[in-house]
């Protein structure tokens, strides 16, 4: 059938979808009566819907001002928008009594349709292509979609070469994450097609209890097994204006099995009063007050004696957690192919008021070398009642376990991470009795990953507030979460020497724990690539760490291995000063010879290059 005979068009972005649409909408021919189209352009898709669904009426929403690609000078899609609107009117003229044209911006029109209590059986989202607009159109449209209705999101693969914020895919993914559990995926290719699951249907098979292999744990263990306990540690220094909201977001968790320690870290503002007001009446909360600011890492280390949970999140007092934060993290911890040191999820960025999300959030990169995708079979793990089967499938498709040899910053910051308490204790730098004026994630993420690996969850589970006082006040971080300030980057790089020191001082313990991995882990916590390691260790603080611990290194690894590992990292007089310390003042001839000849070879190599 030719749906477009006699019409006037300049572009055809529609015809190649028709086969798919006919297939997916066949059973709606008699029932679909209301269609909503966001982005109509010359009316081609509207013509199809009107003719394929003979009983339908269509609401067409378009600004008829064009989106960026239509008005950009020199764009291949540049169009005279007034002409486009005329063609739309003309093309739909034969169906005028079934068309409701709403000229205007979708963010204005869609809420108006909602106010009119409209419901649609089919919604086609093909409006502005920025991530934020796609997200907004889809999200507002979702509330206008009837149960069992179908939504088609166009151009999923469009603009993959453009920044994430300027192409639809990021917006669609964020939208799908938001409605996880409420939809069934019918198709995902150039277009995403989903069906809205009626509320009654989602609850079929859902239980109120934790299950293993489909059985209630009460029935399996008679109460011997209880839910995993999560410990939230809120570390607050003078965030009185934000910390209340942070606490509220923890109280709202749909996972009730947690404790929360709120540490008022030497605040001088009204924090104490705000905290007291917000934790009131909830016995899961405890407040601890430190007389002086201990730094975030200092407070985190200090708190480790006080947490009872098997899993710990250090919550920045200006962040908020989404209601499903704990559920999703715990479900992933319980279902990974292998245990990891911590899980890290996406963050959505918020403006200072916390009221609006900037739709551009940085997504974690899952497709890394040797990353292991997915979770174990749903039947073979502890299943949380607050994670629906479709949400589990979503987590399965959007989780990756990253092997510990991957270096660099791979995670979202701060509150986005949930650690295994036993791994934090294993790598507890000190007991927190002294201040450490640095971030907890800067230390713990790097070293926990280097020792135990980590997993990424590509789903936003917390909100990260951008305001003038935090380290990353430089704007929305589209290009990299850790873009941060130069000052921060330097400071956190300097702190890696603390990690090296910690491992080297504890070499007797870590040698056993890590086996052959000890030296690779030492190199990894530097966060430097292999070719930069010598420069890293040339720093006098690294030399000092090795020199002070040289006798112990020698006794743990034996003379030969000790000399080899020192020379693998240090050269010249620095290397020999460490060797000398290790061998009690006198370097054995063989090692001295090796060290000198190594330097000589390096010298020749440099000369040749010149």
């Amino acid at each position: 059938m030719d749906y477009f005979a006699g019409g006037r068009f300049t572009y055809d972005w529609t015809s190649h979808h028709l086969k798919l649409w006919e297939e997916l909408l066949r059973d709606k021919i008699d029932t679909a009566t209301a269609v909503l189209e966001i982005g109509s352009f010359e009316g081609r898709s509207a013509l199809f819907f009107l003719q394929f669904l003979p009983r339908s009426h269509i609401t067409c929403v378009d600004t008829f001002q064009g989106s960026e690609e239509h008005v950009e000078r020199g764009s291949q899609y540049e169009s005279d928008m007034a002409e486009v609107e005329r063609r739309f009117d003309q093309n739909l003229e034969p169906f005028a009594d079934r068309v409701d044209k709403r000229r205007g911006d979708s963010v204005v029109v869609l809420p108006r349709l909602a106010a009119e209590q409209r419901l649609y059986g089919l919604i086609y989202v093909d409006g502005d292509h920025s991530a934020a607009s796609t997200y907004t159109d889809a999200r507002l449209g979702w509330d206008l979609l009837d149960n069992d209705g179908v939504m088609i999101l166009d151009d999923y693969r469009w603009g993959r070469d453009r920044p994430a914020a300027k192409s639809p895919a990021a917006g669609m993914e964020a939208f799908l994450q938001q409605i996880a559990g409420e939809y069934e995926l019918l198709h995902r290719d150039q277009q995403i097609v989903i069906r809205k699951i009626p509320i009654g249907e989602t609850s079929i098979g859902a239980t109120k209890s934790f299950t293993i292999a489909g059985r209630d744990i009460g029935e399996l263990t008679g109460g011997a097994l209880s839910p995993p306990l999560v410990s939230f540690v809120v570390i607050n220094w003078n965030y009185g204006r934000y910390v209340g909201e942070t606490i509220d977001s923890i109280r709202r968790q749909d996972y009730p099995h947690f404790e929360c320690i709120v540490i008022n870290n030497g605040s001088t503002d009204d924090s104490a009063e705000v905290i007291a007001r917000h934790v009131e009446g909830d016995p899961r909360f405890r407040v601890e007050t430190l007389p002086q600011n201990h730094g975030q890492l200092g407070a985190a280390l200090w708190s480790l004696d006080k947490v009872n949970g098997g899993f710990v999140t250090f919550v920045d007092a200006d962040d908020v957690l989404f209601d499903n934060y704990a559920s999703m993290h715990i479900q992933v911890h319980m279902a990974l192919q292998r245990s990891v040191g911590f899980t890290s999820a996406n963050v959505a960025e918020m403006d200072p008021t916390g009221k609006a999300l900037t739709a551009s959030y940085q997504q974690l990169r899952l497709n890394r070398p040797d990353a292991q995708r997915g979770l174990r079979g749903e039947q073979t793990v502890l299943r949380l009642p607050t994670v629906s089967p479709s949400q589990y499938r979503f987590l399965d498709a959007n989780t990756a376990t990253i092997p510990r040899w991957q270096i660099g910053w791979l995670w979202a910051p701060g509150s986005a991470n949930m650690f295994r308490a036993s791994v934090l204790r294993l790598l507890r730098l000190d007991d927190g009795s002294n201040p450490r004026m640095t971030s907890a994630d800067g230390y713990f993420n790097t070293i926990c990953h280097a020792v135990a690996g980590s997993a990424l969850i590509d789903m936003p589970l917390s909100g990260y507030r951008l305001h003038a006082n935090n380290y990353f006040a430089t704007g929305e971080s589209v290009e990299g979460i850790r873009s941060g300030t130069r000052d921060y980057a330097t400071k956190s790089q300097e702190f890696t020497y603390e990690s090296v020191k910690y491992l080297i001082e504890g070499s007797d313990r870590f040698d056993w724990l890590l086996g052959a991995e000890f030296w690779p882990v030492v190199d990894r916590v530097t966060r430097e690539n292999a070719d930069k390691l010598r420069d890293y260790f040339r720093n006098e603080s690294a030399v000092g760490i090795f020199r002070r611990n040289a006798p112990q290194l020698r006794s743990v690894f034996g003379a030969k291995r000790f000399a080899k590992e020192v020379m693998a990292r240090f050269s010249g007089a620095q290397a020999r000063s460490i060797l000398r310390a290790g061998f009690g003042g006198q370097i054995p001839a063989r090692h001295l010879y090796n060290s000198l000849s190594r330097d000589f070879r390096a010298f020749l190599k440099r000369k040749r290059k010149r």
Binding site: A213, G222, P228, H333, V423, E517
Partner: protein, 364 residues
């Protein structure tokens, strides 16, 4: 149709008064009907006896044994071994507990896969209060280099201890591991169910092993004799307790979260397998022929010790030395030379023989 196999649970308790009641209750809650449960108290000095006493006269399937001194797990097990009537045996650590579907899944797989000597299922590692810390024991989950998926078409059993869907799940999640695939493939202790016949076969005849953990000795041994199967579904809980910083840590892949001392102890004790095989070499050669030497390799592989190093270990050589006549009688001089040279190296074997000669002349 044969009767369903009877399962014997043995709960061996030493000073786990705060946990042992949960272990006993978890056995009594099994959905699988045909079992007996023997609770052995290893001369506890805490309130264990009182806790256990509360179960007396509550269930005819329960019986009790109170030892006067601590024989450790293996010693206690050997003490009561002859009293067990079950075709299948599960030794439950008193600080662990089973899920109510544990025996049904294990018994079903033993019936569906009749040749294997033992089954092992997934565990949830939990803290002292039974709150899960991970979804499994690292060695069980992450060493997926051995075994083949269970092939249901091989099953001729009519027994159905599970609903159809659960049986399908069991089949989907089961891996059968051949005897020659050596290594540690299993969950610890409680999660394993043996065929009693194979325990009888490798029951240690000497008191030297009495302080060993039963799984450490029996699992590699019975597996090498007849193979085993793993069920990748958590069917019991494994409690991590005590001071959580060292010693008792939950397992992590590629990290040695157990202590160095414990590791060396278990490695040394596993030498008991070599002793048992060597001292009864003729018996095992009669049943296993040339694979006798593969059996001899079984204890070294779980620790990743190279064969060359293992068989040159003085402790192992002492054992071989003690039973060398028996080995020669079983395998003959030529084959013994070939097998041991392959493991010790030609030079190592010569040294071993020389040392042997010295000892002989000393004892003459």
């Amino acid at each position: 149709m044969t009767a369903p196999p009877k399962v014997s649970f043995v709960i061996i308790n030493y000073n786990y008064g705060q946990y042992v009641a949960q272990a006993i209750s978890s056995v009594l809650s099994q959905t699988y009907g045909d079992f007996e449960c023997l609770v052995v108290d290893n001369a506890s000095t805490d309130n264990s006896r009182d806790v256990i006493a509360r179960f007396e006269y509550t269930d005819p399937r329960l019986s009790f044994e109170h030892l006067d001194s601590n024989l450790h797990q293996m010693g206690a097990f050997l003490r009561i071994f002859d009293r067990l009537a079950g075709e299948l045996v599960c030794i439950v650590d008193a600080d662990d507990f089973l899920f109510s579907n544990f025996a049904a899944f294990h018994a079903q797989l033993h019936c569906d896969c009749p040749t294997i000597a033992a089954t092992s299922s997934g565990v949830l590692e939990t803290d002292h209060a039974g709150r899960p810390l991970s979804s499994g024991f690292a060695w069980f989950l992450h060493r997926k280099t051995a075994g083949k998926s269970f092939d249901p078409s091989q099953s001729k059993s009519d027994h159905m201890f599970l609903g159809r869907r659960e049986r399908d799940l069991l089949w989907r999640q089961s891996t059968v591991i051949e005897p020659h695939e050596l290594g540690w493939h299993w969950s610890p202790g409680t999660a394993n169910m043996y065929k009693r016949h194979y325990l009888v076969r490798c029951k240690p005849s000497r008191a030297v092993v009495s302080n060993a953990a039963t799984d450490n000795y029996f699992m590699p041994f019975v597996h090498a004799l007849a193979g085993s199967a793993c069920i990748e579904i958590p069917l019991s809980a494994y409690r991590i307790h005590g001071s959580n910083s060292h010693g008792a840590q939950l397992s992590m892949p590629d990290l040695r979260t157990f202590s160095k001392a414990a590791h060396e102890r278990s490695r040394a004790r596993r030498g008991a397998i070599v002793r048992e095989l060597a001292s009864r070499a003729q018996d095992f050669v009669a049943s296993h022929g040339r694979t006798f030497w593969t059996l001899m390799d079984a204890p070294s592989v779980p620790d990743g010790v190279p064969l060359n190093e293992y068989f040159n270990d003085p402790a192992i050589q002492d054992i071989l030395n003690d039973h060398f006549d028996e080995i020669l009688a079983a395998c003959g001089e030529a084959e013994t030379r070939k097998a041991l040279s392959a493991r010790m190296g030609r030079k190592g074997y010569k040294q071993f023989l020389a040392l042997q000669g010295q000892r002989k002349s000393r004892s003459d």
